[in-house]
């Protein structure tokens, strides 16, 4: 091969000027065989508690049952090792799967269209806000403080780049967004969008009342609904039904592993009006030269490779394979499986709430129905209670002081269809055994 190229050695091919030669030797890992690699990761894996502890963690990353059929299909090499389907003639399979994903998201959210995915729920929100900014020309956004704190933090990161102002709406005693200041906030039409999440970070169903949505629309403000727990879409009134123009969400719950936070899969659904402002890939249905149904990437004039600095977003690689896993999951579960699953989530969470709040000193922090999460008020600091639970191999939930200093006696607990009654009972027993002193330290 070197002869054909006309050089004498491999090194001749990669010679670089002295000025840019390696300044220090590269020090990475040792070179290992597969057996040794497997052994190393086995040791890494031993240093986590996953599987060994009972977990009530949720808050944007949910433990749901994934039927083995999802992996069996999604890990097929053709899907796994393809890339963005630029060459549609040899990518009809993946393109159709994405078209199906777009349809599932549209049907689940009740909105007209959906894109081929964005990175995750938080960036979906940020991109949705950019859509609203582009639609309205306004440079501020009003966000419920019951939107996932991580999503709000990411929005602030993006806002820094875009010079956006991010204001917040407080939450109320029912754990829902407190809308009492909404009228005033909308008055001067400075907000590009109002953002609420349902179920919100506290698990509360926070669909906007019809009146509020009307007011928002009346001021030509975009209403963005956030969904961090996509499973809820199988049960709850759709974001479209309560007025959302755009729905920004996270679909990890549909057949994707938690995997310490990623890859997960964000989605953006919207009314047709926003079609040309949507970020990322869109698959459309068309025909080939023989009139046969064919799928193809479309409306590419929105995208960076065509429009460069004028694109709706810089996104290129998205989360296609996670969306594929979700599509296979949705197909396998079907409407019956999804509704049953959603119902089980509510039922198990109700059971958790009932049993835990019966304990002395424990209570539900907020009134009102929730989906699969509940904020539990504990005697003393949440952090202490959680620590005591860990001694008993239970990850009891999330210390809300981390995000809401005023809720330092509150734990966000999650139950899904994988939470058994036995799990709940273990939690209850463990909580009842926590020495009162430790729990009531403050």
């Amino acid at each position: 091969m070197l002869r054909v190229i006309g050089v004498d050695s491999l090194d001749d091919l990669v010679r670089v000027p002295d000025a840019v030669a390696l300044r220090a030797p590269v020090e990475v890992t040792p070179r290992l065989s597969e057996i040794e690699i497997a052994e190393r990761f086995r040791r890494h894996a031993e240093r986590t508690t996953a599987g060994a502890y009972t977990s009530f963690l949720g808050a944007g990353a949910y433990r749901h049952y994934i039927p083995p059929v999802v992996g069996a299909i999604a890990m097929r090499g053709e899907f796994l090792t393809s890339y963005t389907p630029y060459q549609a003639e040899v990518s009809q399979g993946y393109l159709q799967a994405i078209y199906e994903w777009q349809t599932y998201i549209a049907l689940l959210t009740g909105l007209d269209i959906a894109n081929a995915s964005v990175y995750d729920g938080a960036t979906a929100l940020a991109e949705a806000v950019i859509m609203a900014v582009n639609a309205t020309g306004r440079k501020a956004v009003l966000v419920s403080s019951a939107v996932h704190p991580n999503y709000r933090a990411v929005l602030r990161t993006y806002a820094e780049g875009l010079d956006l102002t991010v204001d917040e709406l407080p939450y109320g005693a029912d754990g829902r967004t407190d809308l009492s200041s909404l009228d005033a906030a909308l008055a001067d039409q400075r907000y590009a969008a109002v953002v609420v999440q349902s179920p919100n970070f506290f698990g509360a169903i926070d669909a906007l009342p019809a009146g509020a949505a009307q007011k928002i629309k009346a001021t030509k403000t975009v209403l963005i609904g956030v969904v961090a727990e996509a499973m809820s879409l199988a049960a709850l009134a759709t974001p479209a039904s309560w007025g959302a123009d755009i729905c920004a969400g996270e679909a990890q719950s549909f057949g994707n592993a938690i995997a310490y936070g990623g890859p997960h899969v964000g989605f953006i659904a919207a009314t047709t009006e926003h079609m040309r402002r949507i970020p990322g890939r869109l698959v459309g249905k068309s025909v080939d030269i023989n009139g046969k149904t064919a799928y193809v990437l479309t409306l590419q004039a929105r995208e960076q490779h065509i429009r460069r600095e004028k694109a709706t977003s810089n996104i290129c690689t998205n989360q296609a394979h996670c969306a594929l896993c979700a599509t296979v999951y949705l197909a396998a579960m079907g409407k019956t499986g999804l509704r049953d699953c959603a119902a089980l989530n509510v039922a198990r969470t109700n059971e958790l709430r009932e049993k835990v709040t019966k304990l002395d000193g424990f209570g539900a922090r907020f009134t009102g129905p929730t989906f699969n999460e509940v904020v539990v008020r504990v005697p003393g600091r949440a952090a202490d209670v959680l620590e005591a639970l860990e001694q008993k191999k239970i990850l009891g939930g999330i210390d809300l002081a981390r995000f809401y200093p005023e809720l330092e006696d509150c734990i966000l607990m999650t139950a899904t269809e994988l939470t058994s009654s036995a799990d709940v009972d273990r939690l209850v027993t463990a909580l009842s055994e926590i020495p009162v002193r430790a729990a009531a330290r403050v």
Partner: protein, 500 residues
């Protein structure tokens, strides 16, 4: 066996009530659990038996081209083999199921993986530190430009708002610049396809924020004067950004840090054998030089030895005796870029790949990638234009300009003809500066036999174009569908199925 050409109805067009699969134990109905007005009216989705689901997606997969199917020389995308050990490691239950809100001491193994990878990348690319936070290359570009913006703001130079990109740059570079409110200045490449330091000197100034480049550039050419370019930009007070999409060309050979770059990203899914999955998920670690470390996105993984001593600045080392923590308290940080800490499953894959190679192996990877690309170039240059016919790196661009003039066959058509012969097409019409461009990146995992067959196919297509161009223009015919009416797709957008 249904051929790939067989039609596959949409999943919404099949299925029937009563075909639900039994995944879940019985439970109460939603109506008994939540108030009626909180519930949706109906859920208009199909119930399909698992068999029908399996058949549906099996057929779709057979109509999808992957690296596992055949040669995939898609330039700039580094479609190399994805070792299956990577997936096996990522799927270990105790890694796959760790919750991002698990307390640090319940996630030490996951943190160790992230730390080891971050240290390895820093050494390999000459950066002080990486953040594994961003989800893809473009996302990392955004993070880096936010870092630059924060840096200049803190430095009291908020007026720096121009990003200089060569005209060969990838679309995400200018698009990312726009997302932080920077203006884009496109710099013309010189006759050798390179960035000329003297030209750079003419455009830099007090408004220069960042110069975004890649090396080898998107023509596959090494920029030999990159250090001079860096000097010019630095002297003008700007920062140098390295687009790591081409990192497969230079591992162990030279490093962005050594070339003077202050910021960079990696497309981990390209260089580090993460399956591209039909367009993601990827992973885009963002790396920075020392003076920018404090701006990195949150959280950052920190390591401590048995005595509690901070060992973050150390090179890669064994982690069994280290302990780790996620650090969110970083006042200068630009903040988080995404919901959680990283595309962690991909960090497992990337670290597995690093283990499988070590420093020597990675150096060899790049050398062989360069060898393969040059071999193809040298083997086709007599039949098709190679605008920059010199030693290239891991990829190169050919052009169908002459061929088009003589026969009417364009780059696009060559791509389609390659599809017909069982190959994926090269990247076409990028970079923008080469007309009728075909960007060919074979990667190091292809054998000489595969390259030879591809070369023969390409030569034969060119020969056919010259004798019988119609036969090329009517390709592909061996694929599931023929050429697609893209205009119709864009003019009458049909983006979803609707119930009848």
């Amino acid at each position: 066996m249904p051929l790939p050409a067989f039609d596959t109805p949409l999943i919404f067009e099949t299925g029937q009530d009563g075909r639900a699969n039994c995944y879940l134990p019985a439970g109460p109905a939603l109506e008994e659990l939540l108030p009626q007005d909180a519930l949706r009216d109906e859920l208009p989705l199909p119930d399909n038996s698992e068999l029908d689901v399996v058949r549906h997606f099996t057929r779709l997969s057979q109509k999808t081209f992957g690296i596992d199917t055949a040669f995939y020389p898609l330039g700039s995308c580094t479609m190399k083999y994805n070792p299956r050990i990577n997936d096996a490691m990522a799927n270990l239950p105790a890694l796959r199921d760790v919750h991002p809100f698990a307390p640090d001491h319940a996630a030490q193994g996951a943190l160790a993986i992230m730390w080891e990878l971050e240290r390895a990348l820093s050494s390999l690319f000459g950066m002080a530190a990486f953040s594994l936070n961003p989800a893809a290359g473009a996302h990392a570009e955004l993070a880096a430009l936010l870092i630059a913006k924060a840096y200049f703001k803190q430095k009291g130079e908020p007026q720096r708002n121009v990003v200089i990109v060569p005209d060969t740059a990838h679309g995400t570079n200018p698009a990312s610049a726009a997302m932080v409110g920077f203006k884009v200045l496109s710099l013309k490449s010189d006759a050798q396809g390179r960035v000329d330091p003297e030209e750079m000197r003419k455009v830099v100034g007090p408004d220069t924020a960042v110069c975004m480049m890649t090396n080898p550039n998107t023509l596959g050419l090494f920029e030999p004067r990159i250090h001079e370019v860096s000097d010019v930009v630095h002297e003008a007070g700007g920062l140098m950004y390295y687009d790591g999409a081409n990192a497969n060309a230079l591992m162990g050979n030279t490093r962005p840090g050594d070339m003077g770059f202050d910021l960079m990203h990696l497309n981990l899914h390209k260089t580090f054998t993460i399956p591209h999955g039909g367009g993601g998920a990827g992973a885009g670690p963002v790396g920075v030089a020392e003076h920018l470390v404090r701006f990195l996105p949150t959280p950052v993984v920190r390591a401590f030895d048995a005595d509690g001593k901070d060992v973050n600045a150390s090179g890669w080392r064994e982690t069994a005796d280290l302990s780790f923590a996620l650090d969110f308290e970083r006042p200068d940080s630009i903040g988080p870029m995404r919901s959680f800490w990283s595309n962690f499953a991909h960090m497992v894959r990337a670290l597995a790949y690093t283990y499988a190679n070590g420093a020597d192996g990675l150096e060899q990877v790049s050398k062989l990638a360069v060898l393969n690309a040059n071999y193809i170039r040298a083997s086709i240059r007599d039949v098709i234009d190679v605008p920059y016919d010199e030693i290239n790196r891991h990829e190169f661009v050919a052009s169908a300009q002459t061929l088009k003039r003589e026969t009417g066959v364009r780059a696009l058509d060559i791509g389609k003809a390659l599809l017909d012969r069982g190959y994926h097409a090269p990247t076409v019409y990028f970079p923008l500066i080469v007309p009728e461009c075909l960007m060919i990146e074979p990667t190091e995992t292809e054998s000489k036999e595969t390259l030879d067959e591809f070369i023969a196919a390409l030569r034969d297509i060119v020969a056919t174009a010259k004798t019988d161009p119609e036969r090329v223009l009517e390709t592909p015919i061996n694929t599931a569908v023929g050429r697609i009416d893209e205009t119709r797709a864009a003019r009458q957008p049909d983006l979803r199925w609707r119930p009848a």
